[in-house]
């Protein structure tokens, strides 16, 4: 399907004052295979051409507030009648000219014959151009009303094995209500969910790259979607799988076997104790804990350690830190302190007590009363607009992004504006009464039948949960409770899936669905069987979050080494090894305090409070460290607000900041204490390695460190420092060096 520019076109472009090269640049244009024949339907023939050519994209003529230059189309053609009027009738019908169709403004602009801000979208020789031309020639009919409706679109093949570097041509077929079908391969839109693994051309040709795993291509045609899923095998022999400990291993290993990626071996005890402590409790194990763990010989000692971590307040602190940020526990005013502390503590205490997840969400969604009496009410203090309430709830607890559907039909999903506003209706009876506390309201159910008006259609909608009927809700019943009931139903397709995927990502760095809060048919999980099994297990456990953590961390899959073997370095999504990641800001902060022995005191909190236990975002302002390492500001329900990427500022901060220096030199810190401690120097080195890496130094490391620690240190005048100063200085240097290793900075 070439899109060559003819000699005539060249001539025309020259006359229009455009260089050929410029036109080439503009020609990201489309051609279409089929010859146009009539009679035409605007809905089924014209609209798909406009969509494929990108005319009704959000940045083009579907841009909110007037489109471009007064020509407005509905987004992706979801409202054909509106578009028909825009094309045919608006602007006194000047966009089409049946007497001389090629002189129609629509074609002149689209083909770049007269200046067009969007460039050339349809070259005159293309099928799309010819179709529009023919349609205008016929008098630009809308259709006679007898056209069947588009029912679905399908893609062939819908799944398959594609080798690395291979290609797969997709064929898209539209099915109509009269049973007829049409090949719409040329008109459909294609999008890969992992560009690093595969890309797809506008004509539906999939190019697979080098990364093994599963990749999906979304095929969209006039509001209908289909998905092609490709398994990209590595093809290596897999014969040394660890013995499966639970269903997670069965599914992970089955996938690895299917696509031929041999996993790394299970990690050693030292790696495990550090990894799982960081992942469950957001802290390094203490030296004593590490030694005890390493010395134990029971077969189930890893399970026991997981259990101990799960029962510890550290687990509650660490996961409360995760949730409060997503739930926007923001300090915008000094007076927010009470509600923020109460809200954070409510989450933390609930996690400590292992309140079932559905109950936790229920308490939040349907919160009533005062902040002190019922802290989840604080969420309604921060998130006041019912639209924001529904969007946050959908994204956070259901993994569904509804924002698009406020203004138009969701382009990748089945969500309509009715779905949006009927979800909003659950929050329409949230009553507020003023309290004696500035900025705080009492929250209660305002008696009445819940409805919300679809601002576009004007229709009043009763609550419905993403298209599911929840029954008539009487005036006295708080509709939010009905929403909570719907969520916690075992049949709910979103609720459990969203949280198990979110937690999976917490432990494995990559969600089974990515991004973790964008769950839709067109974004399939990389291991659907595993996701389904996790979901089932979680629901059957009674929405038990600790059990979810337990079953994940007990798996061999979680306990695989981070060291790649000769095959699996390229693996990014099959969990054939543990994917190392930099400790998040708060955890790293605490880890450095633990290693250096520095004690940080935070405003309004008692000494000894750890950074993972900070209740809100206000502490970011005072801490360059937390900012540089990406602690989120609690402004979004998206985990992506936490910045986990690396930066030069981070390196400089660790290497040379005043904060690091003062931590290393803390008067009662580890270097100072150790310098005067009466213990052999190799014991000191061993202690430092245990504290930093949860392992003992190798013989080489030990020798190097001992040698360094015993080197004399000179002052500015070149005179040797006394023994105690030397010892302290050298220890500080050694600790500094340990902090600045990847082994320390990463969980691995």
């Amino acid at each position: 399907m070439a899109s060559f520019v003819t000699a005539v076109d060249h001539d025309r472009f020259r006359r229009l004052g455009l260089s050929v090269s410029f036109v080439w640049l503009l020609c990201a244009c489309q051609t279409f295979g089929a010859s146009p024949e009539g009679p035409f339907s605007f809905v089924h023939d014209v609209e798909p051409v406009l969509t494929k050519a990108g005319c009704n994209g959000g940045v083009c003529h579907a841009k909110a507030g007037g489109g471009q230059n007064g020509f407005q189309l509905s987004l992706l053609g979801f409202e054909p009648e509106y578009d028909y009027d825009s094309v045919v009738k608006d602007a006194r019908g000047r966009r089409i000219f049946p007497a001389a169709p090629e002189q129609s403004l629509l074609l002149m602009k689209a083909s770049g014959q007269i200046p067009h801000g969007g460039g050339v979208r349809l070259v005159p020789d293309s099928d799309g151009y010819r179709l529009l031309h023919a349609w205008i020639t016929q008098g630009a009919p809308y259709g006679d009303g007898s056209e069947p409706d588009l029912v679905s679109v399908s893609v062939v093949p819908d799944r398959g094995m594609v080798p690395r570097g291979g290609e797969q041509q997709l064929t898209a077929t539209a099915t109509y209500s009269d049973g007829s079908t049409r090949d719409v391969t040329a008109l459909a839109l294609y999008e890969s969910n992992a560009e690093a693994m595969a890309d797809v051309s506008s004509s539906g040709l999939v190019h697979v790259k080098d990364v093994p795993g599963n990749v999906a291509v979304m095929v969209r045609y006039q509001g209908k979607v289909a998905v092609f899923t490709a398994a990209v095998p590595l093809g290596a022999t897999v014969n040394n799988l660890p013995e499966a400990r639970n269903f997670i291993d069965e599914h992970v290993f089955a996938n690895l076997q299917e696509i031929g990626i041999p996993p790394s071996p299970v990690c050693d005890d030292a790696t495990f104790v550090r990894r799982v402590s960081l992942d469950i409790a957001g802290r390094l194990p203490t030296q004593e804990e590490t030694i005890e763990f390493l010395e134990r010989t029971e077969a189930d000692k890893r399970d026991q350690w997981i259990e101990k971590l799960l029962q510890s307040p550290g687990y509650a602190d660490f996961f409360a830190n995760k949730w409060t940020s997503l739930l926007k526990n923001r300090r915008d005013d000094a007076s927010d302190i009470t509600s923020n502390f109460a809200f954070h503590a409510w989450i933390r205490d609930s996690l400590l007590a292992n309140v079932p997840y559905d109950q936790l969400v229920r308490e939040l969604l349907a919160a009533t009363g005062t902040v002190i009496g019922n802290p989840p009410v604080a969420w309604y203090k921060r998130v006041k607009d019912p639209k924001e309430q529904l969007e946050d709830v959908a994204q956070l607890f259901l993994g569904v992004r509804m924002q698009c559907a406020q203004c138009h039909h969701h382009p990748f999903e089945r969500w309509s504006q009715d779905d949006y506003y009927s979800l909003s209706a659950f929050f329409s009876q949230v009553g507020r009464k003023p309290t004696g506390v500035r900025g705080e309201d009492l929250i209660f159910h305002q008696r009445g039948i819940a409805t919300t008006k679809n601002v576009k259609s004007g229709e009043s909608l009763v609550p419905a949960a993403l298209g599911d009927d929840v029954g008539a809700i009487p005036a006295d019943e708080d509709p939010r409770l009905r929403l909570a009931d719907w969520m916690s139903s075992p049949d709910n397709p979103f609720f459990a899936k969203a949280v198990v995927n979110r937690y999976w990502k917490h432990f494995f760095k990559r969600g089974l669905i990515e991004p973790e809060d964008d769950i839709r048919d067109t974004n399939p999980p990389t291991n659907p069987e595993l996701l389904a099994a996790l979901e089932k297990h979680f629901i059957e456990s009674g929405f038990d979050l600790k059990e979810l953590v337990r079953v994940i961390t007990q798996s061999q899959a979680y306990q695989l080494s981070a060291m790649p073997n000769e095959h699996n370095l390229v693996d990014q999504q099959n969990y054939s090894r543990y994917y190392p990641r930099r400790m998040q800001a708060e955890v790293l902060f605490d880890a450095i305090d633990d290693l250096t022995g520095a004690k940080t005191t935070f405003a309004n909190l008692p000494p000894g409070t750890r950074a993972v236990a900070l209740p809100d975002n206000s502490y970011n302002k005072a801490s360059a460290f937390l900012q540089v390492f990406g602690r989120p500001d609690s402004a979004s329900v998206c985990e992506c607000e936490r910045v986990q990427s690396s930066s030069l500022a981070q390196s400089l901060h660790l290497i040379n900041s005043a904060e690091m220096k003062s931590k290393l030199a803390a008067g009662d810190g580890r270097a100072a204490t150790m310098a005067t401690a009466d213990m052999p120097i190799d014991v000191k080195v061993t202690e430092l390695y245990l504290a930093a890496f949860s392992r003992k130094p190798t013989a080489e490391e030990l020798q190097m460190a001992v040698q360094y620690l015993t080197e004399p240190v000179l002052d500015a005048e070149g005179n040797p420092l006394d023994e105690s100063q030397t010892a302290q200085q050298n220890l500080q240097d050694l600790i500094w060096a340990l902090v600045n290793t990847k082994e320390f900075l990463f969980n691995h």
Binding site: P313, L352, A367, T370, G436, P607
Partner: protein, 763 residues
């Protein structure tokens, strides 16, 4: 008599700045305002007692702190079963702010109020709890696990929270033992929002209670456990005291919560004469219409908003034209609930059943508009309303009716302690009264919520605002009166007019009223169905003097009694009174001119005071200005404009003025006398030391050692005497500084004015 200048030491820098801005804004409007002023004349306030209570039948040593209580003598309690004497030092002299408190064997358990009599009168009160368990007091900081204070189970510990800290306690318990850990804080006048944590011996949290509840802990294995206590936002300081209680309980035993002060809203509960004689329990299941509990009217039901999202449905039949009154109490029982009622008429049945709303009852609104959260107060900072329900049910159609009762705050909460009482009765017209020290907006941006004792300076009138919750259609006027007042004190009620909600009580001390205090009676009287009905008026106060309610949320509560005192040492900065103590007569429709005496006892900032009028029949009169430089003024009421009907009325004029107040200038003279005495003693000591030093030089060898010892002792005495002089000098300086004139704005209310409006003679 310039005894009147002081400065509220608790005023913050912020408030001063705020005041400056406010002043600049208001100078053009308010001739009497100046910059840098404080709000309200000093009042004595008892802020802490340590410990905060004691075991019945015991004697405890109590230390007090407060504002303006440095001259306190008598520590008194609202119940005679608790008595106190000053603690004496070794030489038999009273130790300042320390008392020995004796709690009689028969003293009722629960909360009582402690107050001290001071130079400025009887202080505000502080809760003093009498309990059954032995008590201990936290002696040293216990803010780490290592310094945890061991506690015996079945003990009360009186403690204070430090700022940014967690208090640690340990206790020993046996496996299976049920331990209730409770803490009295907010409910005992503390500022602490207590968080209770039971942790293992290493300090790992096991159970946390953060919403003011108790921890119910069943010991998993024998050993040491840790109790942590902290404030919700880790605040602390002397005002953050608490009483921690560890109690054993049997399995299934309902352990009552520690006693707590009463919410202001609770003054309107119970209805007079309520008994449990006809009380019936709610019977579950009654959530669904089809499961309605059958009742007959009238009825009196006790129930519970349990489990979460509980709806209690009751069904009864009634006839068209019947009128019933429905009242629900739950929030007024001190519970965090918001009862809501809907009564519906039921027609048809089965599939055809149709429900028609008859009445919906939600909150008992505040009788007067409560202040918003705006820049300045725009109403009283007390809310006499409640989230409970009270209202009329008029039956419009014969037949079956259903009443649904639910807790608007109970959607997700599972707490069987959230009980209610539902009464449906024939009209029993009645009323309930509550009063508080009047709040006036004293300047722009003023959001003071100070605790104000009825401690009168000579010649002062303290106004109390009184509001009424009317029951079951009672709409008549209510006369207010007080009795059992201290000598020289009179009280005059400006009645609550028919159909209205607010009255004023004026408590006035004669200029020569002697020092003293009483527990007064405060009542309202009304004619209901031809009979005089008398009801008490409860008094409410802030638990703390909050200078800026934006920075700190005030904690209003009901007081146990109505203490009234006269200081006998100071006088009001300004007394405004009618020139003659008589009934002022006027004919309806004519003008009444009343000459006013202004007795000014200190300088004022500003030349004039703007006055308005309280009292039915006259409160519509325009405000007027009088000169603070004149001894006389007059107020003119145009009864034609006011349309005041014939009858006898009581009124008062009020405004605010900025006094140049001198705080306790007498203290300078006292301090100077003490200084002179100490200087004399120092001189004697110096002379003696010199003499003995000289004696050393002349002493024989045998007596030298003895002489040296005597000289050394004399030198020590000299040193001590000189230190005493330095201290006395400091006291003089402090007293002098304190007595410097300071601008303080306060409410000025005249003594009552009695007016008789005679009918106009018919033409």
């Amino acid at each position: 008599m310039n005894h009147l200048v002081s400065f509220e030491t608790r005023v913050t820098i912020k408030r001063c700045v705020f005041a400056l801005v406010g002043c600049c804004l208001t100078l053009m409007l308010m001739s009497s305002e100046t910059c840098g002023q404080a709000v309200c004349l000093p009042a004595p306030r008892l802020l802490t007692t340590t410990p905060m209570g004691g075991q019945v039948g015991s004697t405890v040593e109590v230390t007090i702190t407060g504002d303006n209580i440095e001259d306190a003598d008598l520590l008194s309690f609202s119940h005679p079963g608790i008595t106190a004497t000053p603690k004496l030092d070794d030489s038999g002299e009273p130790i300042a702010n320390e008392y020995v408190v004796t709690i009689a064997e028969d003293c009722p358990l629960g909360l009582h109020e402690a107050r001290v009599m001071t130079r400025l009168g009887l202080s505000t009160s502080r809760v003093f709890t009498v309990g059954e368990l032995p008590e201990v007091t936290q002696l040293s900081p216990n803010t780490t696990l290592e310094t945890a204070m061991p506690l015996q189970v079945d003990t009360v510990c009186n403690a204070k929270m430090s700022n940014q800290a967690v208090d640690y306690y340990t206790f020993q318990a046996e496996e299976g033992q049920r331990i209730i850990v409770d803490c009295a804080a907010k409910g005992g006048d503390s500022k602490l929002n207590a968080v209770l944590i039971v942790a293992d011996a290493e300090g790992n949290d096991l159970v946390v209670e953060r919403r003011g509840g108790a921890v119910d802990f069943t010991v998993p294995e024998a050993g040491t456990y840790v109790v942590k206590v902290h404030d919700l936002t880790f605040k602390g300081g002397p005002d953050y005291f608490y009483r921690l209680v560890l109690q054993t309980a049997a399995e299934g035993e309902m352990v009552p919560r520690l006693p707590s002060t009463s919410l202001v809203s609770s003054f309107s509960w119970p209805p007079p004469g309520l008994t449990d004689e006809t009380l019936i329990p709610e019977v579950e299941p009654n959530n669904l219409q089809a499961e309605s509990q059958q009742i007959t009217l009238p009825c009196d039901i006790s129930g519970s908003f349990f489990p979460a999202a509980d709806v209690d449905t009751f069904e009864f039949t009634a006839k068209k034209g019947e009128v019933w009154w429905i009242e629900v109490a739950s929030e007024r029982l001190g519970l965090p609930t918001d009862p809501s009622i809907v009564v519906q008429h039921v027609s048809g049945d089965g599939e055809e059943e149709k429900l028609t709303d008859v009445v919906e009852l939600s909150d008992i609104g505040s009788p007067v508009k409560v202040s918003s959260n705006g820049y300045s107060y725009d109403g009283p900072p007390y809310n006499a309303g409640s989230t409970d329900s009270l209202g009329k049910l008029e039956i419009a159609e014969d037949g079956v009716h259903r009443l649904q009762l639910l807790d608007l705050f109970g959607g997700t909460r599972n707490d069987p302690r959230n009980v209610y009482r539902l009464i449906i009765r024939k009209a029993a017209p009645d009323f309930a009264l509550v009063g508080w020290a009047l709040h006036m907006n004293l300047r722009n941006g003023d959001r003071n919520a100070l605790s104000k004792p009825i401690a009168l300076r000579g010649g002062a009138t303290i106004p109390l605002e009184v509001v009424v919750v009317r029951r079951d259609g009672f709409d008549g006027e209510i006369e207010l009166s007080m009795d059992n007042l201290p000598a020289g004190v009179t009280a005059t009620g400006l009645k609550i007019p028919a159909g209205q909600s607010k009255g004023i009580m004026l408590v006035t001390a004669a200029e020569d009223a002697p020092r003293g205090f009483t527990s007064a009676t405060f009542i309202g009287q009304a004619m209901i169905d031809g009979e005089t009905v008398t009801r008490p008026c409860r008094l409410a106060s802030m638990a703390w003097p909050v200078p800026d309610a934006w920075g700190e949320i005030p904690s209003p509560r009901l007081l146990a009694d109505v203490p009234v005192s006269v200081c006998g040492t100071e006088f009001s900065p300004l007394t405004i009174a009618p020139a003659e103590d008589k009934v002022w007569e006027v004919t309806a429709g004519e003008k009444l001119t009343i000459p006013l005496k202004l007795i000014k006892r200190c300088d004022f900032s500003g030349a004039n005071i703007k006055l308005s009028t309280y009292g039915t029949g006259f409160d519509g009169a325009s405000a007027f200005e009088v000169s603070l430089n004149e001894e006389m003024a007059e107020v003119v009421y145009d009864l034609e404009k006011l349309k005041t009907a014939p009858g006898e009325y009581k009124a008062a004029v009020y405004g605010y003025a900025v006094a140049k107040y001198r705080d306790n200038p007498d203290a300078i003279a006292v301090a100077e006398v003490l200084l002179a005495r100490s200087q004399d003693e120092a001189k004697i000591a110096a002379d003696e030391a010199a003499a003995l030093a000289e004696a050393v030089t002349t002493a024989t060898d045998e007596l030298k050692a003895e002489a040296e010892a005597a000289a050394a002792q004399a030198a020590e005495r000299q040193k001590a005497a000189e230190a005493a002089v330095a201290a006395a000098e400091k006291q003089v300086q402090a007293a002098t500084a304190r007595a410097q004139p300071k601008d303080i704005v306060d409410i000025i209310v005249s003594t009552p004015i009695t007016v008789r409006v005679n009918p106009a003679e018919e033409q």
